[in-house]
Structure formats: structure tokens, C-alpha cells
């Protein structure tokens, strides 16, 4: 069957397989920033924004994105400038191996769009669905706080 959706601002008409997951569709379409960690919704490495909200793309049937708007980590840059969350992760040591990073960044972007001034507890809750084995989360939590401040124009 065929679906129509927007991927990182580009309108696309794509044929999909029955039962195909959004994760596989996006990787098939070259969005390799969407990572495969568990295919079970446990790790958050495949998170993307679907109609503005972070979802685990491994749990979403591609057909559910029909008519929708998808933003992956590749779609966050604007005119060659990193999104403040990306910049804060890069500046603050929030990246080690980088495999969880795209999903984690998407989760943080979603959180800050709903809550521009989260407390540390709210950040932890917001990132709870994204597993990272390298960083211990310390610098990632701090990066989200800094990104929030930057987005509120405080820096």
C-alpha cells in the first residue's frame, strides 16, 4: 500500500509493506540516525517526533504515520546550525558512543516543547524511556537543562 507523509520537511509518497514498522521505513528512506536497539520499545534509540511528539518508531506501524509529519534527528538542524539540544549535548560531554544520542535528543526536544523550564526530576522523567549505557546520564541531564535555558533566551 501507499502512504503520504512528511519526513524532515519533505513531502513523500511511499509504498510500504503490511506490518512494516516506522523504524524500518525511515531507515529504508535513509534516516540512519534512527537507531535499532531492541525493537521492543524498551531502549528509546529509535525515537522520532511523529506529529510533534516523541514515539518509539519500532512500536509504530508505518501506516499510522499516513498523513503525518515525522522529524528525525537529521531534521533538527536549521541552516547548518544545530538545535540547542544538539549543541548542548555536544558542548557538555553528553555524547559518548553516540548510539543512544539521536533518540535521547529527540526525547529532550519533545520534553522542552511541552515544558520549557523543567526541573531536574522532570528531565529525568522525560529521559527515562531512553537508555544509555555509556554516560551515566549526568551530563545528558545537565545538557537538557542548559538547552532549556538557551531556548528560553537565558544564554
Amino acid at each position: 500500500m501507499t502512504i503520504t507523509l512528511t519526513i524532515n520537511g519533505a513531502h513523500r509518497t511511499l509504498s510500504i509493506e503490511p506490518g512494516e514498522r516506522l523504524l524500518d521505513l525511515l531507515r529504508r528512506e535513509g534516516c540512519m540516525g534512527v537507531k535499532i536497539g531492541c525493537r521492543a520499545g524498551d531502549c528509546g534509540a529509535c525515537a522520532v517526533l511523529l506529529n510533534g511528539r516523541a514515539v518509539n518508531s519500532c512500536l509504530v506501524f508505518a501506516v499510522k504515520a499516513d498523513g503525518g509529519e515525522v522529524v528525525t534527528v537529521e531534521g533538527l538542524e536549521r541552516d547548518g546550525r544545530l538545535h540547542p539540544v544538539q549543541q548542548a549535548f555536544l558542548d557538555g560531554g553528553g555524547i559518548q558512543c553516540g548510539y543512544c544520542t539521536p533518540g535521547m535528543v529527540i526525547g529532550a526536544v519533545d520534553l522542552l516543547s511541552r515544558n520549557p523550564d523543567p526541573t531536574e526530576d522532570e528531565i529525568r522523567k522525560g529521559l527515562a524511556g531512553h537508555l544509555c549505557r555509556c554516560t551515566g546520564y549526568v551530563k545528558q541531564i545537565r545538557a537538557v537543562r542548559r538547552a532549556a535555558a538557551a531556548m528560553r533566551g537565558e544564554r
Binding site: 537507531k35 549535548f89 555524547i95 559518548q96 553516540g98 548510539y99 549505557r133 554516560t135
Partner: protein, 774 residues
């Protein structure tokens, strides 16, 4: 402390050189770039813990459309090898084959299918008919050692096994002084036995390899590995092809922690590509990662300490370890030996020491290298026993450690007696700020105010615990690293290193070291790491070796290049080369006159005395300076439910000079949080038939952002004169801390000694109830 020079680039928290690609989701990991026509390879795992394959029929599978090949023990090379990616000859037994007519754990390889699609491969796996003869499994250390136990490796062509008939992979026994006399002369003796569980690395990227043929028909393996050069050598052996016909490329790696020091899939992908001529992808599912990849060796370790009653100075230490290596002996000997060699030298005041250990085969998941590498299992009982000893002596636990720990200018006979599965290397410490770590950490956690107070908050009781430890910086006289630096005519440099960045940031810190020597900002260093065709040799990312060993190779290569640049600039500046220094992208004469690096290289390439400014340097360390760590934790124990919460964790670490403080802190933070998971929640549960019962990230609980305590890492810098820029390595040490530290804090809160990890609510509650019933 030796004086630390002023650095321009080293000591700064520079951004990771690969950070931008990672944060923007560029296709930089193994599975991100696949060619059209790629075959998908799937593996059929054994349903039994121990069985013989009587018959295997693949005809139906081969007939499925899209199936390109099916591999079994009947059509693959039988060469024995080890999957452990260690230096040659590996100190692990050659007890594995690509496929065999015997399987030794649930998930062991039975067959593999390569097909056009994952669906076709899955269908083909289901169509393979296997007739098994079930054998009696061996499901614990005790069963393995029992008289008349089934022999896990009864084949006769395996080599390097200590005593296959008794299921013994390895046996280690070393003595210093006379430990019995030491105990007899001790006023206080404590003895404790601790047991650790099956635990897994759980990198977010599972094992994955991509193989294809290059234009000359050579096999290219792009693989998520910690050991590219060992992969090349081991695959050459296993497949029986020359090393020159293999190229291993390490792209970005999505976490390793030791599990990717193992050559698990590369042989298989390579053989599929050689047989079919087509590219092949193998990616373990999360379930396969749990069942068929590697684990931390579960151990049972007994420790006995004897001390002087007045001073608390140790007179004797005895450690006896039994390690379960699972179905294959990868890292069996060396992890066992490190349980002693990385722990006992810490308390060098004891003139008498004895380490005895055995590693046993079972028909359970295979253990391997895991960050901490035996030290993690050894420090649990050692630091528990030190806590018990402190209580018996009536000495504060910090004070007892302070009196007993090794110091600058001192040595331990253990260094020489016990090394990487053989004798070790004598060394005298040139840097150790452990006493300061203890001081700073105690202050930050509020030891004096909070220890022993048992503060209550409803059913929750708070307690404080601590522990200390050391690790090493690489494997002396075994590890080898090399680096090549070549100069470009715009004043930039290519840094070509075999060192294997698996997310640690080693590309960045090695570039910082080179940039420091060459007087350029970091952006002038173009880093290429770990491609066996393009970069010089390096053993890879393990044993806390990269900063210290690879870092020194980079430093030496940079110094050679610096000297070439000076010589090339001398005629331009009209001075003697020895008077010149490199600074701000220039060569500067004593007069202050400068010529740019770009000018120097341009001249060398195009104008006069033409040559390529470039150099390669190697390094083999002759010692392994330990980093040191003092851990402090505040925990809260719920006496109603047995739940343990880590409220606060302070880690003060002597890392030498931190080449990149943010990355050094990141190593510590990540290791500590992994260790907290190991202490509290992580355990592979095994069924009575040896099957992993919780092979998912839902059922095997690694810490998430909500589980992390307030965590403070303090870099207590020293200057290690043998290290590059004064640095030591700290990739592993942090993971050893949480288990004993949390155990000791639980004791401070509720007076129970936990001797079995993880400290789940059930175990804690049982212990609390047992204690109150007694």
C-alpha cells in the same frame, strides 16, 4: 607530586572530534551503509544447554527462495580457535569452532542462513531439521567441580585447557611469604565469601558486522569491535585465509564494555561473503545479545584477612576465587587472575599473601571480558572484609584503608608474581593520590556527620559506606600501540591510529596529545582510527590501555614529527633546530621570529630538501601505573520492602593528568552507573535447564535516568611521569566501586552483610528478617 607542565590543549574539555556526526545522526555505524544485494544472515541457536547433534538436514531450508547459503558443522572449517580478542598467542584456550556437532549452552551456534531478506532467512532457520541427543547439563560451579560431572569439553582437539576432564579451564596459585604464619601472627582475622551473578554489558548497539569484497577480491569486514587487528588475525586463522586478504574497518561503535573484545560474528559474515561473493550483514537481536553474546564471569570469592590488633596493619591476605566461564573459556584464565592481580597489591603492607583460583566450564552462557575484568568480582569480598575488619578493630573504615594502602615509592610483590595469566611485571608506584581521594571524598559525602547515624525517614533508614580500589593502565610488556602522523601543506596533520574509539573519546584525547606537541589547535588534527589497511597496529580498546599505551605512542610519533618540522624550519629561520619551538601553528625562533607550519610543510613538499614530514612510533609499556579510586555512597534502605536506593555517590579518582576532564568524568560516571545496576538490579536469570529467562531490556533492568543518584565525580589529579602528559587510564576502575560501597552502606544502615549480588529487595528483606530472627 611531580610538577605538571602548563598545557595548551591537554587538560581542556574539548568537544569530541566525532561529536557533531553523532549528534546529527550521520550514518557512521556498522549497519548504516549497506550495499544493494546485501545478504541477511541469521543464526540458529541451540535449544539445549548440552547436546550432541546427531543429524542436521538443511535441504528444505536451502530450497526456500532467496536463500543463498546455509552453514553448519558439515560445511565449515573445523579449526579450533578462541573468540577472545587478545594478543597472540591468546591466553584463552582454543576450544571453539565455527560450528560443531556438539552444543554447550542454550543459544550456541547450530547453523546459519544467509538470504536476500530477513524474512527468508527466518523461514529457512525454521526449515532446518536437527536431531539432538540431549546430554546432562552442567548448571553451576558446584556441578562442574563434582566428581563424575559431565565433561563440557570432551573433544580431544582443543588446546590450552588446564584440565578438560575436570571442567577446569584454568588454575592459578601464587604465594608471597607464608600466609599461614601471617594469620597465626595476627590478632584479628576475618573471613568472608561473596558471590556474584551473571550480568551483561548491554551496549545499546548489539554486535553487528558487515562484510563485502573489495575491488581486488579481498574480504572487508566493517565491524563493531574493540579489537580490529585481533579480528583480522583470528578470522584469518578460523577461515584459513591469509591476513593480507582481510581488511577490518572499525566505524563508530555503539558501546563495547568488553563484549566487543570478542570475535563473535566476523568469521561467519566473512565466510558467507567468500562463499557467495555477496555483501552480508549480521546483527544480533537484543534477545540473541542476551543469550549468545558475552557476560561477566560469575564468581564465588573467599577472602581472609589477618591484622595487627593495635595498628590494624594487615599481616596476611588470602583470596580464593572460583569463576564460571560458561561454555567456552574466553578470558577464563585472565579474568580469574585479575581478580587477584588488580586487587591484592592495593594492600601491600601485608607481607604474606596467597591467591588461589580456578575457572570452570559449565553449559551456561559464555563469560568474557567485561569492564573491570575480574577486579570487580574481587573487590566485593575484599572491601567487604576490610569493612568487617575495621569494625572488629574499632578503627574507622577510612583510617584502616589509609594505614594499609600502597603509596608512591612502594611496590607489591604481587605485581611481579601475578600478571595477565602468567607472571607479572615488577613496578614501583610513581603516582598515587589515594590518601587525598579519601580525604576529599569523605568531606564531600559528609562522612563525619552522617556515618553511623542511621537516620530514619519512615521505614527508610540511611547509611554511609565506602571502599577503595586500583586498576591498571594497560598490560605491561604485552600491549602494543602505534601511531602515524603525517603533515599536510596547510599545516594540518593526519593522525592515523590503531587505537579503537568505541565511544570513550579516545580519538579526541589522542588528538589532543598530538596537538599539544605540535603546537596546533585540535581542529588541525584529522583523526583516522582503526582500519587495518590504513592505520598502524594497536591491540585495541581493553585493559584500560588506550590513554596510557596508545597515548604514549601518539606522543612519541608527535615528537618525531615535531623534530622533523624543526629541522625543516631551521634553514628558513637561520637557527639551530634545537632552539626552535612549535607554538600557535608556527615554528618560533628564540628571537621571536616565526614561520608558519603551513609554510614549512609547503616548502618541504614543493621547494627544497623535499620530503614528506611524517613519522610512526610504537609503544610497549614496561609498567602499568594504577589509577586509584575512593568511593562513598549514601543509601536508604526500606525496612518494609527491602528496597535500596542510592541517594548520593561520590567518587574521587586519581587519574594522573586528565587529558580531557569532561571525557574522564564521563568514563567514571558511566562506569559507576553501570556498577550501580550490577549492584542492585542486573541479573541474568537462568531456568533449571540453562535458558536465559529475561533476555530483554524490559526484564533485565539496566539503570535509566530515574535510577541515577546524585553523582559527583572528583578528579584528583596526580602526575604520572611514565604516562603521556602525566596521564593514567581510567576506563574500567569506576565499575568496581558500587557493589562493595553500597554493601557497606547497607550495613551501616541496617546492620546486614549482603554477600550475593544483586542486592534485590527480596535478598535485602530476607537478610533483615534473618538478622532480626537471630
Amino acid at each position: 607530586m611531580t610538577e605538571r607542565p602548563d598545557f595548551a590543549i591537554v587538560g581542556k574539555s574539548a568537544r569530541k572530534v566525532d561529536g557533531r556526526a553523532l549528534v546529527t545522526g550521520k550514518p557512521v555505524f556498522t549497519a548504516d551503509l549497506c550495499l544493494p544485494g546485501t545478504l541477511h544472515v541469521k543464526i540458529l541457536g541451540s535449544p539445549y544447554a548440552h547436546a550432541r547433534i546427531l543429524d542436521i538436514d538443511t535441504s528444505e531450508a536451502e530450497a526456500i527462495p532467496g536463500v543463498a547459503c546455509v552453514l553448519t558443522h558439515e560445511n565449515t572449517p573445523p579449526t579450533r580457535h578462541t573468540t577472545a580478542g587478545q594478543g597472540a598467542p591468546e591466553p584463552s584456550p582454543y576450544d571453539a569452532r565455527m560450528f560443531e556437532d556438539k552444543v554447550r549452552f542454550v543459544g550456541d551456534r547450530v547453523a546459519a542462513v544467509a538470504a536476500d531478506s530477513e524474512e527468508a532467512a527466518d523461514a529457512a532457520l525454521k526449515a532446518i531439521r536437527v536431531e539432538y541427543e540431549e546430554l546432562r547439563p552442567v548448571l553451576s560451579i558446584d556441578e562442574a567441580l563434582r566428581e563424575g560431572a559431565p565433561v563440557v569439553h570432551d573433544e580431544r582437539d582443543s588446546t590450552g585447557i588446564y584440565d578438560a576432564d575436570r571442567n577446569l579451564v584454568a588454575d592459578v596459585d601464587i604465594d608471597v611469604g607464608d600466609v599461614e604464619a601471617g594469620f597465626a601472627g595476627s590478632d584479628v582475622v576475618v573471613e568472608t565469601t561473596c558471590e556474584t551473578q551473571y550480568a551483561q554489558h548491554a551496549p545499546i548497539e548489539t554486535h553487528v558486522v558487515y562484510s563485502y569484497l573489495d575491488s581486488a577480491g579481498r574480504l572487508v569486514l566493517r565491524t563493531s569491535t574493540q579489537v580490529p587487528f585481533h579480528v583480522r588475525r583470528i578470522v584469518a586463522r578460523t577461515l584459513g585465509i591469509p591476513i593480507r586478504d582481510i581488511r577490518v574497518i572499525k566505524p563508530r561503535v555503539g558501546g563495547g564494555f568488553g563484549t566487543k573484545q570478542e570475535v563473535l560474528l566476523e568469521d561467519l559474515a566473512g565466510l558467507v561473503t567468500l562463499r557467495t561473493g555477496r555483501p552480508a550483514l549480521i546483527r544480533l537481536s537484543r534477545k540473541e545479545e542476551f543469550t549468545s553474546a558475552r557476560t561477566r564471569h560469575p564468581m564465588r570469592v573467599r577472602i581472609k584477612l589477618g591484622a595487627d590488633g593495635k595498628t590494624g596493619i594487615l599481616r596476611a591476605i588470602e583470596m580464593e576465587a572460583v569463576s564460571n566461564t560458561g561454555a567456552y573459556g574466553a578470558h577464563g584464565l585472565t579474568v580469574l587472575a585479575n581478580a587477584g592481580s588488580k586487587t591484592l597489591p592495593l594492600y601491600n603492607k601485608a607481607p604474606n599473601a596467597h591467591f588461589y583460583g580456578q575457572a570452570v566450564y559449565t553449559t551456561l552462557p559464555v563469560a568474557g571480558a567485561y569492564r573491570g575484568y575480574g577486579a570487580t568480582q574481587g573487590y566485593f569480598p575484599l572491601e567487604t572484609a576490610m569493612d568487617e575488619l575495621a569494625e572488629r578493630l574499632g578503627i574507622d573504615p577510612i583510617e584502616l584503608r589509609r594505614r594499609n594502602h600502597i603509596r608512591v615509592g612502594e611496590t607489591s610483590p604481587i605485581f611481579e608474581k601475578l600478571g595477565e595469566g602468567r607472571e607479572g611485571v615488577e613496578q614501583t608506584l610513581k603516582s598515587c593520590e589515594l590518601s587525598r581521594c579519601l580525604e576529599v571524598g569523605a568531606e564531600r559525602i559528609g562522612w563525619a556527620e552522617k556515618r553511623g547515624k542511621r537516620l530514619r525517614d519512615g521505614s527508610w533508614v540511611h547509611g554511609l559506606g565506602m571502599s577503595i580500589m586500583m586498576q591498571g593502565s594497560g598490560i605491561p610488556r604485552i600491549d602494543m600501540a602505534a601511531a602515524t602522523i603525517k603533515m599536510n601543506e596547510d599545516g594540518s596533520f593526519n593522525l592515523l591510529i590503531g587505537a579503537t574509539d568505541i565511544g570513550t573519546g579516545s580519538d579526541t584525547i589522542l588528538a589532543q596529545i598530538a596537538a599539544e606537541v605540535l603546537g596546533v589547535p585540535l581542529e588541525e588534527m584529522i583523526v583516522t582510527s582503526s582500519d587495518t589497511d590504513l592505520t598502524p597496529f594497536d591491540v585495541g580498546a581493553y585493559a584500560s590501555s588506550t590513554t596510557y599505551v596508545s597515548g604514549t605512542a601518539v606522543l612519541r610519533a608527535a615528537e618525531k614529527v615535531r623534530d622533523q618540522i624543526r629541522a625543516a624550519a631551521a634553514p628558513v629561520l637561520g637557527c639551530d633546530a634545537s632552539e626552535l619551538r612549535l607554538v600557535d601553528r608556527s615554528v618560533e625562533a628564540p628571537s621571536g621570529e616565526r614561520v608558519s607550519l603551513a609554510r614549512v610543510c609547503h616548502r618541504a613538499m614543493y621547494e627544497s630538501d623535499q620530503f614528506q614530514i611524517a613519522a610512526t612510533a610504537s609503544y610497549v609499556p614496561t609498567e602499568s601505573p594504577p589509577p586509584f579510586l575512593a568511593n562513598f555512597a549514601e543509601v536508604a534502605v526500606d525496612t518494609d520492602t527491602g528496597r535500596v536506593k542510592v541517594v548520593r555517590y561520590v567518587a574521587a579518582v586519581d587519574c594522573g593528568v586528565a587529558v580531557n576532564p569532561a571525557l574522564a568524568e564521563g568514563q567514571m560516571e558511566g562506569a559507576i552507573v553501570n556498577g550501580i545496576g550490577y549492584a542492585l538490579t542486573e541479573e541474568m536469570l537462568l531456568s533449571s535447564r540453562g535458558r536465559v529467562r529475561n533476555p530483554s531490556l524490559f526484564d533485565y533492568k539496566i539503570p535509566g535516568a530515574l535510577d541515577v543518584p546524585e553523582l559527583e565525580v572528583i578528579l584528583v589529579e596526580s602526575y604520572e611521569p611514565t604516562g603521556p602528559m602525566g596521564a593514567k587510564s581510567i576506563g574500567e576502575i569506576g565499575i568496581n566501586g558500587p557493589v562493595p560501597t553500597i554493601a557497606n552502606a547497607i550495613y551501616d544502615a541496617v546492620e546486614i552483610r549482603l554477600r550475593r549480588t544483586p542486592f534485590t529487595p527480596e535478598r535485602v528483606l530476607d537478610a533483615i528478617r534473618g538478622a532480626s530472627a537471630a
